[in-house]
Amino acid sequence: MTDKTYLFQYLLRLADDHLILSQRLGEWCGEAPTLEEDLALANIALDLIGQSRSIYSYAADVENKGRDEDHLAFVRVERDYRNALIAEQPNGDFAHTIARQFFVSAFMVPFWREMESSNDLMLAAIAAKASKEVAYHLRHASEWVIRLGDGTEESRERMIEALDDLFIFTGEMFEVDETVEAMIRSGVCTDPSSLMGEWLQTVQSVIAQATLEMPDTGFMQTGGRMGRHTEHLGHILSELQYMQRTYPGQVW
């Protein structure tokens, strides 16, 4: 593969992470436990979709095959999506949504901060915006982990279960394969496994404040980066892609 193909693959992964997680958060719209939370989750979804749009547009330029951001977002088949599995996990109860957002945001904060000094100027520019936004996402999710964990017996049980259920999907964020290696080599990104220490520190500190225990570490799920998804992605896509599949090329 050439450097351009690696870069395109890498951008697709990043954009897919943001789009799919954003779509999941959007499912809460009108259904969140309180009005404030409805606004919060929709706002976070909006940040993520904005970030994904910038990345898809850039990916389309890099690929240079006449596909645009909408084409990349809406008309690929399931196996062509490259998002990490954690992004597609169901919302579950509110605690599951928060645990998912917490694990991802705790990674995105150091990830985008490092990306600000990428020698890919477009990614560095996207990172400059994104890193300010994810700081709010992390604070929001952290506060909820603490509130639910150190809350009632019921909320505590649910928070524990959510953290346990989702922890198995966190390893994928730090994976280094051929594509990531190529990106590290050309100075596009820092080695994601080097962010593990800071991520663990954030996660441990918030979980401790929530008076909870760290989930058991061990086997980690993988596959999203190669297009092997959980059964959930197909259902997300059937909703996400409906308009473009029914009315191809339709614009607002």
């Binding site: 904005g50 749009r53 300010k132 936004e133 929001h140």
Partner: protein, 173 residues
């Protein structure tokens, strides 16, 4: 007086200055009391070698739905001012910060009932810790945050514990 309209006989500098005035007056679609210049999102207006007026606009938040509307409004303002050949570019870097809101913009936000961002966004305290926000209605400092996220991506929800009024706070970014 027609200094607000384009004249191809004018020097590029004069044309750019005229175009700036036209673009700068465009109101924010969500908070119409402030203009794109007040918010600091209109970065520059130049005339390129081909005589095309290029306005550069920074989004406040990556996903702000107003961004494309603002670009369209800036373009329309330029065309209306007589600049037929005009373009609006998006600038991501350097990223927009609330520090770029002008003093005038802050005053207008306050008068409209939106508390302007309190501290410089470089301050860790402002980004991660508790922020002391004064109520834009009664001026009291005894306010509490209801939600980190408000009616638009750039705002948080607060409540004044003295006059009991809820209000929007323009977050530091």
């Amino acid at each position: 007086m027609d200094h607000m309209s384009a004249d191809n006989q004018q020097s590029p500098d004069t044309r750019a200055a005229t175009a700036w005035l036209a673009a700068a007056a465009v109101p924010d679609p969500e908070i119409p009391v402030v203009t794109v210049a007040d918010l600091g999102i209109l970065r520059s207006v130049d005339v390129d070698a081909d005589g095309v007026v290029v306005a550069r606009v920074s989004p406040t938040y990556s996903g702000c739905p107003a961004t494309s509307l603002i670009q369209q409004m800036v373009l329309e303002a330029l065309v209306q001012a007589g600049f037929d050949k005009a373009r609006v570019d998006t600038v991501l870097s350097p990223a927009w910060t609330t520090d770029w809101i002008t003093a005038d913009g802050r005053r207008k936000l306050q008068a409209f009932g939106i508390a302007p961002p309190v501290a410089s966004s470089n301050s860790k305290r402002a980004l991660f810790g508790e922020t002391l926000v004064n109520c834009p209605h009664c001026g009291a400092g005894e306010t509490e945050r209801i939600s980190e996220f408000g009616s638009t991506p750039c705002k948080a929800l607060y409540r004044c514990t003295i006059c009991k009024e809820p209000f929007d706070y323009f977050k530091c970014l």
